[in-house]
Symmetry: D2
Subunit: 366 residues, 4 copies
Amino acid sequence: MSMNTFGRLFRFTTWGESHGPALGATVDGCPPGVAVSEEMLQVWLDKRKPGTSKFTTQRREADQVEILSGTFEGRTTGTPIQLMIRNTDQRSKDYGDIAEKFRPGHADITYWQKYGIRDYRGGGRSSARETAARVAAGGIARAVLADLVPALEIRGYMTQIGPHGIEGQRDMTEIDNNPFWVPSAATADKWAEYLGGIRKAGSSVGAVIELVARNVPAGLGAPIYAKLDTDLAAAMMSINAVKGVEIGEGMNAASLTGEENADEMHMGPEGPEYASNHAGGILGGISTGQDLVVRFAVKPTSSILTPRRTVTKSGEDADLITKGRHDPCVGIRAVPVGEAMMACVILDHLLLHRGQVGEGLRGKIG
Amino acid sequence: MSMNTFGRLFRFTTWGESHGPALGATVDGCPPGVAVSEEMLQVWLDKRKPGTSKFTTQRREADQVEILSGTFEGRTTGTPIQLMIRNTDQRSKDYGDIAEKFRPGHADITYWQKYGIRDYRGGGRSSARETAARVAAGGIARAVLADLVPALEIRGYMTQIGPHGIEGQRDMTEIDNNPFWVPSAATADKWAEYLGGIRKAGSSVGAVIELVARNVPAGLGAPIYAKLDTDLAAAMMSINAVKGVEIGEGMNAASLTGEENADEMHMGPEGPEYASNHAGGILGGISTGQDLVVRFAVKPTSSILTPRRTVTKSGEDADLITKGRHDPCVGIRAVPVGEAMMACVILDHLLLHRGQVGEGLRGKIG
Amino acid sequence: MSMNTFGRLFRFTTWGESHGPALGATVDGCPPGVAVSEEMLQVWLDKRKPGTSKFTTQRREADQVEILSGTFEGRTTGTPIQLMIRNTDQRSKDYGDIAEKFRPGHADITYWQKYGIRDYRGGGRSSARETAARVAAGGIARAVLADLVPALEIRGYMTQIGPHGIEGQRDMTEIDNNPFWVPSAATADKWAEYLGGIRKAGSSVGAVIELVARNVPAGLGAPIYAKLDTDLAAAMMSINAVKGVEIGEGMNAASLTGEENADEMHMGPEGPEYASNHAGGILGGISTGQDLVVRFAVKPTSSILTPRRTVTKSGEDADLITKGRHDPCVGIRAVPVGEAMMACVILDHLLLHRGQVGEGLRGKIG
Amino acid sequence: MSMNTFGRLFRFTTWGESHGPALGATVDGCPPGVAVSEEMLQVWLDKRKPGTSKFTTQRREADQVEILSGTFEGRTTGTPIQLMIRNTDQRSKDYGDIAEKFRPGHADITYWQKYGIRDYRGGGRSSARETAARVAAGGIARAVLADLVPALEIRGYMTQIGPHGIEGQRDMTEIDNNPFWVPSAATADKWAEYLGGIRKAGSSVGAVIELVARNVPAGLGAPIYAKLDTDLAAAMMSINAVKGVEIGEGMNAASLTGEENADEMHMGPEGPEYASNHAGGILGGISTGQDLVVRFAVKPTSSILTPRRTVTKSGEDADLITKGRHDPCVGIRAVPVGEAMMACVILDHLLLHRGQVGEGLRGKIG
């Protein structure tokens, strides 16, 4: 069922609305004995937090996470971990207008059509604030992964904003040096100028985010319907505003021939090596041990200052300008969210694998 | 858990290997009282069946489906429906070579790395033959949908093969007149020539498939982690060879501005109407009532006649030519598979919605 | 999976430890539009609250429930409802001794053996305080049921304490007039005297609780593995200290012949009527429309003042007296917990039924 | 959801009706590399097979199981295992009468009330024939357990038939020497006489079955809602005709005091030992390492030769004699079914534990 639950063995359920008293995540199935603290989680929440640059919403949320259960003396106990984040800066008055009017591109109309009732303040449950809870849950997943697979690394970054890709060579050491988490200083400058213009015009723009996980053990993924790529696709598509998900070559795979797409193999000193990674680290839904490469596209923020035509709850035509404090490009804050989801999926499959198959990965080569 | 199970209320579990005695699907949660027969299911299986044109594998499989349970006097009873398809043309000898060598681009190596044992005959469980079981399950879903939402239509077609898109205007009436299910007679001719060349060269090529569902009721989808688009993305990514999934604008949404992407609304005679459908019929994970538009890309078949470098189970370098009878473009037979998965997802969400919210969709406009 | 989750369509996940800052329940899948308030839930929590008579633990917990999400203007929205109860009276010092010693009959040793770490304060996660969260979730279920099946009533009461059953005729109007929720004033007096003696002796005693649901619609229950009785058995067995569960005749059914056990039917003015109810309202896992009758037995509280032999974490023999503030008979407070679980199971199956089968119950007789 | 699915990591879905062409179980999540064969499974099916003594139904079913998928060269591959059993002796004509009349005590009326359609032949889906599929799935579980925990033993036996318990000392070596699997030769003789009379009278009688698992590792069970006892209770209550389930002292726990019920501990040469086992091997939902002791009661077969009053589908009063070939005591054939379910639950929890916690049980004592 799991309407608001994600995961199989490592599961989290998020709860809360944009303008309610709090939101959070109930994390179940976390292995015991792992060191976690509010400080460790806060590092990740601070990456997603609004207001860190002029390119994100100016809503002020401390996004301070509290651990209410599931740890004892600084370690997980194997029982559910409740992570709560209080909402502090809810200017509900900004939303008076949309109690009646449905914002185009938002879930206002569909929540109404589905439930016949909606918390219209800030999008209620469909607000991207929900992703703060995912980032907190992802922080738990990262702590466990650090314990179980110390070499594993997960990194996300933007590779496109509007029509603009990365110019020149990628330099991964630049990711943390700019507000876009783009691996190129020169690109960051150009994007800053571009997005500055978008922001001033009260407009918005989409983006592409790429996620890479290194040192993922081979053998993760549970075919057929719990394939690693299936779960990654679901994880990313569940993030607000995402309209496309790719693994490895992604949509471009359609254009290739079998010869171009084959990732040839040869034996290296420590086992099989691949000459390329068109597959994005997954074959038949199972990890190969190569880098796991996932990309997703987010649409432009639907809240813009240009008036759009819409309808009202009472069935009248109307024009709507969405004021309030919005992100000109939600792709920026989607980076830590994507990373968190990737961490949760990998951990989940690690636990699933050792549950079904056993602790040691089984088939050896050579 | 659901390793081999798909769905929430309407669920199916597929089982079987390429070269075992049979494969099938166990369908659970099907509403009672719906007319189904083997003949009704066979229609869909015949679309996916190999050997229908020279562009698909020449393996001869009747793909005859048997209903072993769950119906009585031609109607579903609400109990599990077992759908079995016997494998008849298993030339296991074709696969002797790959008992030892891992085929690049196939799941041979990862199944080995995960499980330490694999049925190497024809890819075993990772063979695309598994999708026959999905098509059978999808046939059940279609029968139920025909009962519950008679106006609903699901259509799939190819929009790209290798680098070639559709030329000229789309003509949906042409879909059933060519082996590619492409909505353009002229394009079909060009593709036939192109793919003929690929086939003769012992090569292969990827494709893009588009799926459209019309007259889907508004209000389907269960946020946050059972969103309609999330489940569609998972459904498509679970299909063999799929590397990317898009809803509406898909990856292209990244390039748009908020003004371009907004689907403006106005009141029509029967409720809200949309000026465009960039969203692909889904907002906040819930259907809007517009056409549901999904696309997915499949990579080129990994079995090609050009030798590729690979490794063996015993850890030696080797070259491999994949003989056997293969599809030069698996995208063709992925069309009915995608349709089947879409039918299953829509039915599942219809049942979920009436379970949680109630039979009538709730929020009225106007 | 669902380690800490109960339910299928109407699901709740409980979290929290006896001596952490708070505990609660995350309720998912609740239908929208139902009036709920903290006051409505508090009524049920107050029934379970400790310290209401001298026969329950003297720990002082307000058990005040807060609704943190999932409602808007006093009605459910269909999104997750977070119910939080703060722990206020945690005298952790009472538990210093048991950090090292395992209390016989408690889960101290097994949590240690399973997880290698345990929050020993008050039993941590295995404390009966967890049941407060169930009662809160049950309050939501009751509110929804009141909306959907107004005639439905759920009542629990004790039918046995130690070796003492109910004397004389049952009088259901007496249930709320005594601390045992026993339907007999005379019995209540005798039990008070008996349990008073047990309490003074620092001993404890077990009990049997019976639950009856009236006006349950026929047709609820999803065979084979989600039968109504299966889910009720799981629900009751999951409650702390429960060692047996019965439906209708229960264990006594073994002694009966087919003639004695048959519930004969005849047509009444509004449909079939039954001459008896040995089945407890369930046939083949599906409700008949008769009263649903469930019983469960709780063992005596394991915390007693007589020293018992035990072992320590470091592997030494020891004697242990369990001080602290304990219930001489946990059966008393198990009554509202059982009622809550029954409400959740019935609602879940009501939603499941209308999801799979449809709003109206299908097969008519006559 | 899992209407017809049981289990979490080791899951099986049963399908099929009494008088359809076949029935079976789809087993998912089975660890790879375990030796299984049709012969190994047949041993268990033969224990449950009808017609093995005069005390079970004379319906002739070979109950021959076929493995259709999930194994390769005699070993499991980690993919779904399809187990099919063909129905061979379906005398549908025996059931003509009950197409219209509802048999008292059977699920005829409730399946009708739920689904509005039912396969009335032999009870259809609610027939005890479904349990053959469970026994097959249990055979897989036993094979895996033999691999993972070689010392583990599961034994079931009857402890009561009608009002008659076991007389004298129990002698476990006698279990396989009599048709009741009762651990006492003298008792078997008396029961044979008693049940012979019941059978000749066309009557039936209930029974109690006890199941014991020895050498279960400590630490299995996933609190709160996937406790080991919770899952065992669900497993047993899901078996046809079961009306009560007990763990350890069971319903009798109500009568005990805390002093009587405490299982005192002391250190033995290999760890903690218990002076008694009132708990039945489970504390807080987690196994202690003691014997796991479960009991369940089955009601008398509802098919008897004495006419009972009932109603018809068209709403008329009627009398009904249930002819056909029935078991005078279904408890006999419930023994292997209970054993199978116990094996599945234990294996499931073993996998869950090593998934969440890790391969080695964690907390050591001493």
